[in-house]
Amino acid sequence: MRPFHPAYIFEVLPQLFPYIGVTIAVTFGTVLGGGLIGLLLAAAKIKRGRIAKILVNTYVYLTRCIPSIVMLFIVYYGLPELLMVFGIDINNVHKAFFVITTFSILFAANMSEVFRSAYEAVDKGQREAAISIGMSEFQAFRRILLPQCTVYAIPNFANALVNLIKEGSLAYTIGLIDIMGKGQLIIGLNMGSYSLETYLSLFLLYWILTIISEKSLKLLEKRLLQGKKILHTAG
């Protein structure tokens, strides 16, 4: 039986801390990129015709079926070759770019469904009422629909975000040094010893990260819902 040193779990934590920034940065980049594409996809599905709907559905279906690690490898090996055809050389681009691209592709599919269901959860009469009192389409969306959509979108968004943080740990397989990658490096430096302790401290970090993001979004949802409750009692 190999010896186990619980104290090492906390010894390794300070070495991992600086790399939390990388993990968070990759997550934020993906939320921005994937969120934007997801928004466009949802808009296309709601507003445009049947063909757009079929295309978006196909996109969502296909990305839902492909494991993220396979997607990561396809983007990592395929994207440089594909862009080379157009004369763009991205072989020296930072690895985070490939990670963010991959997870944006996957995250966008999730987000398109989150946005669409949130949009459809708001009563149609709300938009009609807003327009009938003289708001423009954009004003109605920004002032009436968007605040209500946001509340509906938060629980599903929280789910997608937690999944994203977890899946993001796959980035170390293409050599990105985030907390997972650093953990693997530390194990390598120790010639494989203390691996259990290092994994345990990684568990701890990931668990804290996901709990914080879940709880803070829940708080946000609660805050946004407060107005709704007051509205109901007043009406």
């Binding site: 494991p67 937690v162 170390y172 994994y199 568990f203 996901t210």
Partner: protein
């Protein structure tokens, strides 16, 4: 950019050998997780103070940490523990390190799926009105009968879409089994690709394969769902 089609066809044929492994990993894991997850969901629903807390903690931990990490951790922990247990405690002469690594894969994916299914079952059981259980108990069914005949048949309809999602996610995560040297679809493709640096082709082939498997699973669940929601259509007609 050149695509090596001969390689793709060869890889496709090679990878077919990995399909049974992927399916085995998915369905045996599901079978193992089903009863345990159901039991755990009940602990949470019946508001048992101690066991409910443990279940909540377990679900939160598993769902809050990456599968890769769980794989790496258990794959470096389990063999040594098993070895110690069998050699020192049971005094058997079995070579643990010659075991098929798929066993470790079953353990990791089951631990993971149990947490996911616990939530699926809990939310499905919550959709059945509490009065149904009370009514069943009032007419003299015992608790087991009430669950088996009244509650579960209704809850199944609500659970199926989430179950389908869980199955697909599980099948996708089995692609990580190559870390435990299990020869599933992804592992075979990886080996083939590394030989001549044909990564793009290999991964494109298996993504098509995953899409096909995924479609089959979804069709299967669709059929089961139509069967179980029969009572709804009859009652509305």
């Amino acid at each position: 950019m050149t695509i090596n089609t001969a390689f793709m066809i060869q890889t496709f044929l090679d990878v077919l050998a990995g399909i049974p492994v992927t399916l085995e990993l998915t369905f045996i894991t599901l079978l193992v997780s089903f009863p345990i997850a159901f039991f755990m969901a009940l602990q949470k629903l019946e508001k048992k103070k101690f066991s409910g807390k443990i279940v909540s903690g377990y679900v939160s931990f598993i769902r809050g940490t990456p599968v890769v990490l769980q794989i790496l951790f258990l794959y470096s922990l389990l063999p040594t523990i098993l070895n110690y247990f069998i050699k020192e405690v049971l005094n058997l002469d079995v070579d643990i390190f010659a075991l098929n690594p798929i066993i470790y894969a079953f353990v990791v994916f089951s631990l993971n799926t149990i947490a996911v299914l616990t939530e699926v079952f809990r939310s499905a059981l919550l959709t059945v009105e509490h009065g149904q259980l009370e009514a069943a108990l009032a007419i003299g069914l015992n608790k087991r009968q009430a669950y088996a005949r009244i509650i579960i048949p209704q809850a199944v309809v609500f659970a199926l879409p989430n179950l389908c999602n869980a199955t697909i996610n599980l099948m996708k995560s089995t692609s990580l089994a190559f870390m435990m040297t299990v020869k599933d679809i992804t592992a075979i493709a990886k080996v083939n690709a590394a030989y001549g640096y044909n990564y793009i082709e290999a991964y494109l082939v298996i993504s098509v394969l995953y899409i096909i498997l995924c479609t089959v699973v979804q069709f299967g669940y669709g059929a089961v769902e139509r069967y179980f929601s029969l009572y709804k259509r009859i009652s509305t007609n």
